[in-house]
Amino acid sequence: MNKIFKMAIRNLLRYKRRTLLTALLITVGVLTVILFSGLAGSFKEMMIGQITDSNLAQMQIHKKGYVSSIDSMPLNLNLSPKEYKTIEKILQDHPDVVAYAPRIKLSAMLSNYSETTNIRLNAVDPEKETMVCPDVGNRMVFKDNVRKKIFVKPGEIIIPKNLAKGMKVKAGSLVVIVAQNRDGSINGLNFTVAAIIESVLGPQGKEGYIHIKDARTLLRMEKPEVTEIAIRIKNFNKLSAVYTDLKSSLLKFENKKGGLIFEIHTWEKLSPFVNIANMIDLMTISMKLIMIAIVLISILNVMIMSVYERIREIGTMIAIGTSPGKIMGLFLSEGFFLGLISGIAGNIIGIAGIYLLNIFKIRFSFGRMDNLLLSPAININELFWLTAIVLLVSVFATLQPAYKASKMEPVDALRHV
């Protein structure tokens, strides 16, 4: 085997320019995939992080049917205190859940005493909300730029940036919120603008914040109902498993008609960014397919040429008794080593490229979000699979020429000029 490997490497070095050009082509392919995966993956992770850590949370539990009518923010699909307690017990008992926060969602009218507009509000317990969405405060601009530990207190409101601009209100301004409760009666409360909040992608990214106690007063709730429970788990990579687990726990609860009482959704079902994330995944797969095509065509081409140029040599090897298997092994080894060298080179340059991209930081805007910073990264598993794909495709591309070489008739091959 060593002899075959030695001959394979020497044969590659024999045609230095051709080997170099082919290796360069594959290296560029691998490098492109690494850089694209690193950048696209970083963008995707950053956006998911923005959405889940500053606004949506990783999962949400609602009364069954709420999400399908989420645009109208219905108040008749709230969770009762008893239902909230039931869910709370499940969440407290689950080892992977680190935090949960109750929220009341409502639609209201905002007035600055001269103009009125409508506003979507997210009424939260700020301490619990910060545990579930640790970056929520990062989006807020407080008075005198002093960030508060508890971002919203009773009597305070946080208003979306564009709305504040349109209504000409700023931190410290007084506003009135008027809302209609479930029974149809209207109530109003005065609020002081505590901060202005920047938008995040998605319908829930343009909501204002008030304290949950104010929402209950405003809506004249007799009992402490909640619209949704936002959840944060220990390890985001286990989201799917925890979701399945919690879903199966919630499935046990049925109403008198046998229908489900609760529904649970991950961020993927709640944010339109999931479509962009899926597109990024699709583009990454497309890049990999292009790389596979590059490896396949370049190695197939170089190995066909190699076999054609060495027909007499192959004839000699067969004539002196080399078995067809060893002839095939020799050519397969050449393809394998060509792929290996290119794959390793691509990985090394790719890692260096990712490192450089992290040094020369890339900032960009996405939608209404400005100054987003990309931190491209690629994990070792991705590099391993990329190299494995290159090697597999290299060997696959060499199969046909290698088979052809092994099946040559020695008499014909020796006669070849």
């Binding site: 001959m7 020497r10 004839g315 090897m317 008794g321 067809p324």
Partner: protein, 224 residues
């Protein structure tokens, strides 16, 4: 039984739509440790008969026995194994593997075909290197050797597995006169030293003289 036994062998090639009779009803036998030459003009069938004896081709009719093996009946894999174990080859254009040194070229059949251990290989290679007189050139690649040196390497490669029979198709055709005579004398000396049968083809009268047994072919027929 003779080392090589050819019985009523014919070989016809198809050149487009025209059948070409390369050999017609040839019968002969060659004894062990002989130094035999097939002679004749170009196209007389010398290479064809060497290919048939060398198990590189199959006759259209007749039987070929080499070292007791009815080689007509061997399949592709068995043919390769038989060539590797019982035969050695020397080619007109030397056909050394360009990526291997002289030493590695000689060692090649022992590694790739016979799978012999390193220590035994080393002894065997050094023995033939010394016998053919190219010990000093052992680390050179083929493109660093002269024609005569290359053919010596080829002779050594053919002998290293200690085959019963070495077949050489026009082994001196690409050499100058002096080197050609040297190579033939070397082959003969190797026959004397190792007892290996050598069969070679030539149309050079000076080289023919070195053979002990001469078969003359004309238009695919054995005439002498």
């Amino acid at each position: 039984m003779a080392l090589v036994q050819i019985e009523n062998v014919s070989k016809t090639y198809q050149m487009g739509e025209v059948p070409v009779k390369a050999l017609q009803d040839v019968s002969l036998s060659i004894e062990e440790a002989s130094f035999v030459s097939f002679v004749g003009p170009s196209g007389s069938g010398k290479t064809t008969i060497l290919n048939l004896i060398g198990c590189l081709d199959k006759p259209t009719a007749g039987d070929v026995f080499v070292a007791g093996e009815h080689i007509n009946l061997l399949n592709r894999k068995q043919s390769a194994a038989f060539r590797g174990s019982a035969l050695g080859f020397i080619f007109q254009s030397f056909n050394l593997l360009p990526v291997l040194t002289a030493y590695e070229n000689i060692e090649y059949p022992l590694v790739m075909i016979k799978n012999i251990s390193q220590s035994i290989r080393s002894k065997a290679v050094h023995k033939v290197l010394k016998a053919v007189g190219i010990m000093e050139q052992k680390d050179k690649f083929p493109d660093q050797l002269s024609g005569g040196q290359k053919q010596r390497v080829a002779v050594a490669r053919a002998l290293v597995t200690q085959p019963k029979l070495v077949l050489a198709d026009e082994p001196t055709a690409n050499l100058d006169k002096k080197s050609a005579v040297n190579v033939i004398q070397l082959m003969r000396a190797m026959r004397d030293e190792f007892g290996t049968t050598f069969i070679f083809s030539t149309h050079d009268p000076k080289i023919m003289k070195e053979a002990e047994v001469i078969f003359t072919l004309e238009d695919g027929m054995l005439v002498n």
